[in-house]
Subunit: 417 residues, 2 copies
């Protein structure tokens, strides 16, 4: 089954919101083994919507439209689809009653007259109940094609897809039985081209499963994707390819699938029953923020210090004034002293620290914007690394935070470069 | 000028990432007064990309393609565009040198051979420099149409658009002269429906300029949009409407346009020559992170403490053990003691603090997940506020960070509820 999505909404074209519905549906369709070939976004404009619909009709078996089901005049998705399919819109009394109830239930007793148009359904189509809003979805079939219309608000669309549409599609696919499964391997400490070089033959020789690299801001990802007749078969194909990739790139791989660097560090600390404290200068709290985004992080993260001023580095973290003076606040020696200092101050098993120049101003030829030192310490060892990045202030902060956590990970695991 | 965007990338269709590039470009094009009529997303597939390109060519004056400029074999945007336009790809020596330098500069001395293909530019096209990656963009014109190719990673695409493409488009538009200008008013401390009620007549009566409310996660925004023959005329229309909105909602408006809450607080501190320190529990560093995202924040932000454990609240911030025991760590009394404590510890003019339950676990009937206390202190006064939100851990962290900064703003300005 080949699918296309048509997203309707001028607010999408004006960039007022991101098209997260298309992302959500893309993920769900892939899980169902349905190939999504195209997403088209048009504004609240009947002519352009119709033209997108005509083109999709020629290519796809399944067309999902999102948005334009509201009560106002610029909501015209259902009307345009019905006209295109040559189907009359008729009032569905059961739906109308549901909309009236929705208003009663949410305490806005009387349904405004404009909402009645939401109860119009194309002849032969099926209304899909909306638990969180007034606009029902529509499932309609013609000439061997399925057209599904879903409401624009994600909190209405997602439950409708999950509770009704996914099941109907699964039934339809019961004959076909094709599963797509993906796995993501996350790498740190190697560039995209270099990583790709090391597995070029695997990329070239594979069509199923496939292997594709992506450069993210703070890591490199390899995505493995397998298409098979069953979950188990797809899993086996992925496992086999992953083994080959692990052989070549294993030392750079820090996580799989959805796991993030802070989660990896948290997991390593948790199983060891050890704790962490951080001292941040240029990242300004971002490392601690990432760590505490992980539920349960209070089990291993004690806290930290954002030492933006030199005075705080000296006073709270005990960085010797002589080092600050001689090496400068952006130096490996200061990063190491901060890591040791915060470990002692907080009484944690591990201390991590980062100091650098996030810019945009304040750089010099010797210490340019983007220069960052990260450090990590436990009772026995203190390690540090020097990085130099280009990028905006926020990009440098994020890269520095990732490098800090990666160094903690390496120290815990006893990894050397 | 009518524009279309073609986003290229299988990862978009699989829902692995949201198409934030299309959102960003949509916003920028609207600012330039360019009508974006369609966004089409296709995978890394030459045939389908070509078909999207052919269709766009029939409709648009400006086609912007994003993604598929990497060094790997599935990156084929430039190749497909060149073939479609009937233009040969030739090696641009200056670009090749820039890519080589990029590798040298980022400490990965030697350029892998695969990257050489990134230096291929269609004959007659212009390479657009990429400050943050190896793939240059391309600007090429043919038959009265402009085709722009931009790299997929947002941290490369955005600076390239801002520094090169926007300027070139503005030059091109200099003749046309229709201006769309927008203004955003940002509100805190009032709900969307209530805010909308207070200006309902203005929303209903206006078609140009328009007034539209948006509920964001940590604030309410009103967007004013005017279309006019000149910048000045549009400005006047906006100023007139803004005055009416200010009259009704002024006490809730904390910022205009792009200015964020941390920037507002930073500006207020800067002009007063005063300084700030923060003590964070449930936000885990996010408040400090937001503050330090603002360039120049080292001028007023001294630092802070992430006191995730009770021991740190006591030891570093001097919160009395008796208060922690009697009121519990999530309480107004502890928030106030933390604000005073960090102010003294760091030696700042203002101290801010936040403590709460971000969840997902750890809530009780008396202290549910989402309960948050924020506090702010200067030499004379300490103030605190109690909030109770619903939402995920990250949503609660962000709402708590915004509330903390808003309370600092109110204390600086001497505003009372």
């Amino acid at each position: 089954m080949e699918a296309e999505i048509i997203s309707v909404g001028t607010e999408l074209l004006l960039g007022q919101i991101a098209n997260t519905n298309a992302q959500y549906l893309g993920e769900r369709l892939a899980e169902l083994g349905i190939d999504l070939h195209r997403v088209t976004t048009v504004g609240d404009n009947a002519k352009r919507l119709r033209s997108a619909l005509e083109a999709a009709w020629e290519r796809a078996d399944l067309i999902i439209l999102t948005g334009g089901l509201g009560p106002t005049e610029d909501d015209l998705t259902k009307e345009t689809v019905a006209e295109f399919l040559g189907l009359e819109l008729v009032l569905d009394e059961a739906v109308l009653e549901r909309i009236r109830c929705f208003f009663a239930r949410t305490g806005r007793n009387i349904m405004p007259p404009a909402n009645a148009k939401q109860a119009l359904i194309p002849v032969g189509g099926e209304a899909l109940p909306n638990e969180y809003g007034t606009a029902p979805g529509v499932w309609v079939e013609k000439d061997g094609r399925i057209v599904v219309i879903l409401p624009g608000p994600p909190f209405e669309l997602k439950p409708m897809f999950e509770k009704t549409v996914a099941g109907k599609l699964r039934q339809r696919l019961a004959g076909e039985r094709k599963v797509i499964k993906s796995r993501v391997l996350k790498l740190y400490g190697i560039g995209e081209s270099h990583a790709e070089e090391l597995v070029r033959d695997l990329i070239a020789s594979q069509t199923n499963p496939t292997l594709a690299p992506y450069a993210k801001e703070t890591e490199i990802q390899f995505r493995l994707t397998a298409k098979a007749g069953s979950e188990e078969e797809a899993e086996t194909m992925l496992a086999c390819l992953e083994e080959k990739v692990q052989e070549r790139l294993g030392r750079y791989i820090f996580a799989r699938d959805a796991e993030t660097m802070p989660e990896v560090v948290g997991r390593l600390l948790s199983v060891r029953g050890e704790s962490l404290a951080v001292a941040e200068s240029c990242t300004g709290g971002l490392v601690a923020d990432w760590i505490t985004n992980v539920p349960g992080s209070s089990g291993y993260f004690l806290g930290g210090v954002v030492a933006y001023s030199n005075a705080l580095k000296e006073k709270l973290l005990g960085v010797p004034a002589s080092i600050l003076r001689e090496e400068g606040p952006v130096s490996g020696a200061v990063a190491e002293a901060m890591a040791r200092g915060v470990r002692t101050l907080v009484g944690a098993d591990y201390g991590a620290a980062v100091t650098g120049l996030a810019g945009p101003d304040g750089g010099t030829p010797e210490k340019p914007v983007g220069l960052v030192f990260v450090a990590a310490a436990n009772g026995q060892r203190t390690v540090s690394e020097r990085y130099e990045w280009r990028g905006s202030r926020l990009v440098i902060k994020r890269r520095a935070a990732q490098a800090t956590l990666n160094l903690v990970r390496k120290l815990i695991l006893g990894l050397q470069d």
